[in-house]
Symmetry: D2
């Protein structure tokens, strides 16, 4: 049993905690949090041991009636792996602390690549993470792109990928994020940093990305073009991608036209939080003209990195092969639509 802690219990942290708790070969020793808000409350309701991330805010937790199991150092003393889910940049500041407690650490995609020994998705980098003390699970967009490009590259060769990312302005609970009634080039320079981030896990792939920010909260949308090294039919591509366990091909008959219906479908299927751990590709959008592949995919920014975090833990702490880890993760979570 790998003993795991989560530091930072927000959008990603709470999902990683649930996912760890669902694994047969892992045990969640607790979660650390800074502020005693409704999320801290729900951690307690779920029966997770709650640790204060800052020792000087113990009083606030007490005041809010939230029982603490200790502070972050206590949690670090009791785990093999800590998953850092703090806001972007905070992970880098925590790194020394984890090392000094001699625990392995998984960081998130908001950190720079050099925060860790290796960048990670299960599909592309499982073996690279084997000997690592620290691993960075790449961002939601990068994860979504890597999962798509890896099988294409293996099957046909990717000459060049060109992707427009229409990013959600904020997560559903973030009321301080815009824009309203605007599509904002962000960054205004092209290509964006997302392409280089993909190359941290798929170093050989040539990819240019352009990013926009839109007044939506549910998912990112990718408009994808890939110049392939071969000229498969659209059906062949569909079959290839349908074989990937973390790609969901939205069937045309389903009548699913956007993120709203996708999340509705996830909730109809009983998914906790309506999470879509899979890339969601519109099957009818997949088309090939010559060697040029086109498609639309949606990525649930809150969820797609969650199974990757689980696999990262296994890669670092066990010698379970990648396929078995992915299968275990998928089964424990219910990945696959």
């Amino acid at each position: 049993m790998t003993r795991v802690g989560v530091n930072g219990y927000g959008t990603i942290g709470k999902r990683v905690a649930d996912a760890v708790a669902a694994q047969p070969d892992m045990v969640l020793r607790g979660v650390a949090k800074r502020s005693p808000n409704h999320e801290a409350d729900s951690a307690v309701q779920r029966g997770y041991a709650l640790y204060a991330a800052d020792s000087d805010r113990l009083g606030e937790f007490e005041h809010a009636g939230l029982p603490l199991a200790g502070t972050l150092p206590d949690l670090l003393d009791s785990v093999d792996v800590i998953v850092d889910c703090c806001p972007a940049g905070v992970g880098a500041r925590n790194r020394e602390r984890y090392a000094s407690h001699d625990v392995r650490a998984v960081f998130q995609g908001g950190e720079a690549a050099n925060v860790a020994d290796a960048s990670f998705t299960a599909r592309t980098s499982f073996e690279t993470a084997r000997d690592a003390d620290t691993v960075r699970v790449v961002s939601c967009n990068t994860t979504g792109l890597a999962r798509l490009l890896a099988p294409l590259d293996e099957a046909y060769g990717v000459e060049k990928a060109r992707v427009t990312l229409v990013r959600r302005g904020g997560d559903p609970a973030q009321t301080d994020r815009g824009p309203i009634n605007d599509i904002v080039p962000d960054p205004a320079t092209v290509p964006s940093h997302h392409g280089p981030d993909v190359r941290t896990v798929l170093p050989e792939v040539d990819i240019d990305t352009a990013a926009l920010k839109a007044p939506v909260t549910a998912m990112h949308t990718h408009s994808v073009n890939v110049s392939l090294g071969a000229a498969p039919t659209a059906d062949e591509v569909r079959e290839l991608l349908a074989r990937e366990s973390r790609l969901f091909l939205i069937p045309e008959v389903a009548g699913i036209d956007g993120a709203g219906k996708l999340k509705e479908y996830a909730l109809d299927c009983g998914r906790p939080r309506g999470d879509l751990w899979e890339n969601c590709l519109w099957a009818e959008s997949i088309s090939v003209s010559g060697t040029d592949l086109y498609l639309f995919q949606n990525v649930h920014q809150e969820a797609d990195v969650v199974p990757e975090n689980i696999d990262a833990i296994r890669a670092m702490t066990t010698d379970i092969p990648v396929d078995e880890s992915v299968t275990r993760t998928n089964e424990a979570l219910g990945v696959g639509l």
Copy 2:
């Protein structure tokens, strides 16, 4: 065991089906649907017997690989109560059909009040529904207002209620609904029809409503003013309302500032579909100046009528008292935050 069927398996229908299936004293005999889309598919996945609403579309279901248990008349022959969750106005056209099969029927708030013998919320109209063959559960906004006004009227007397409803433009999955970047008076005439609808369940209450439509999908927001017959303190009102099982007073410390965080909280609590069956009132918004009470509440349009449908079924088919029915419904669903 009351045998129940659901006709119309959309936003409301699927939730009512789940809620019926969760009751210890009811059995869901099946759901009827018109089109074999992803919702039909998820009904099958949940193990619900699926009936075709139209006998001339059987081929479409077969084509989609969706196994049918029969057509609507078959379902009607096997139930004591049918819950009609068809689009607004379709229920009225179905009424004769239900009567001819001699089944009791529950209609939704999109129908005119005269579709049924009685309009219903558990808090206001349980006994009225006792002898009824047909009952109409009032709309999401009306349910939310009745739940709030009933205890206020009992405790202090409601001299006059004035409510501005900022309504969601469409449900999350409805991509064809606007407005974008606009707040639309809808109807432009004041008072709106919502006030009279409240009087179908609280006939004695004097209420004027004004309605707007906004570019949001998650919840309705009510800005409420009530001129009371007494001058309680805000704390007394808070205590009064906190005692109601289907009112949730959002504590100030929770840091919940809008519908996004409310739904997040519901999902964090493990609620299926993130459903908020309770009115959600901002505790800090509750204020009294003289005899004038003010507050903000949010209503989850997809969910608040669901427990009411369950209680309506019990009122029509059993002699269980209102308190016991409400308690059973609440416990089976998990109402109460």
Copy 3:
């Protein structure tokens, strides 16, 4: 000729500058700005003398190729009145500076009431501003409420006004403002500060306000209830309000259903920037039940305070009577739809 300068050339400042430039009895001596962006550029294009607000940023203007007429002190030396249109709170910090140059100052509604000798709308407070060295034009929402309540109070007496303000989340060019897909109680406490602000210009009026923030940029929407001291017919109220030069009653036949069509109408009428200097009231929304008046009005946050700034200047610097000032302002701008 009153010599006027504008300090702070943003949303409000540029409109005030245009309005001053349009008055036959005023001369715009220049505008002061902090950053040499596209707004500074358009000031130069309009032929306005441009002053640097900060003497340490002269180089930036030079670098951007924007010719400067001097710095703020130079502008202050050449005017009778400075209109401060800096971001909320900055005006208070500028006050001493204006006093030391012995110029009269007009502040905006983002400042606290005590920034100036008097708070102002032309309809309510023209005479109060006569002897003032400093005047604060109240905010867009307060201006809109005062214009509406003043004639109602005079004609019938206002027993109590209760208003829900559905505020725009940000101005059209503000991409960093939210919310997305949410209606946020802001402030969550009721009543909001808008009521007390109305009383700075209508001290005798009893008003409670509740404020929400919505994902729109074009206008604020007010849902208004007024308990009157009399029981006029809706038509009588319509006639009363139609006589006010800064209230526009949207005729039912116009087919104008929201802010989008209102702005379209303003642009169709050739209004610069599509500005609506008038409150826009839906004529068909005006209704009376007993002594309770209801109506919806929209307020163009960027524009309604602009004619008030002009009248404030005349009140402070001339002995022109209020009616003549308002008529002059209206004619020079084209107020009246």
Copy 4:
């Protein structure tokens, strides 16, 4: 003087009417409209002769107090060219009528290409329109793409263009259009019809387009990739594009980050209706990697086709060369930022 009429006085029609009225060599004989709403009212206010499109609705105009100059046939009898700006598809139904009155006709991009003898943008198809009795000005998106691709193709050769169109959900006044909080693949199939439409004016260009629909009203956003036949520097491309009179390169120093600030800038410059007749390209987004060009551009759907309509009229009715026509149109309107 070319005598021009406009049939259909909506978003496009009113702009074309204003543009015709502004030309020294054209005279606007009148506009025809179906319904006597606020737009008809503003046509009268502008002094345009108003004609009823339907002879059976004369009473409605009279009732609304709108003076009519006659009906559509009267207008057709008095013009050389009619510009049809009716809703998509209505133009095709009007075609015979125009022919029977022996007037030349300009149609809009909502019609199928075969509605007219030639499809048109001034940059690509001026000579083609010379002998045509009927011309179709291509849609806003197609116009924006053709203006960009034509100079690139001339200078470097376009091997392949790949464009993602993030389209506005509705125009600012259209409250019945969605989506809310969703980015919808529309059409879900790739490539979309926009590519083939570009080839009606640039037959030789190889272009694939993918289209999304977003909850915004102000502009369309294009994420553009072009594989060129040469490898210019980004600066060379900037210089090339800056020479085109209907392309506006947004300078980086302007601080313009999206459609909101673009429209603000247009209004600051005194543009009527805030119209942006030019493609708006973010200068800093223009980048070249190898022979791959990337950039973002925004297209003001309500405005970019307006100067094209004017040039189409000149191409059909005069022998003025293209450059002179474009210059005249630009000067009369004020095109060029």
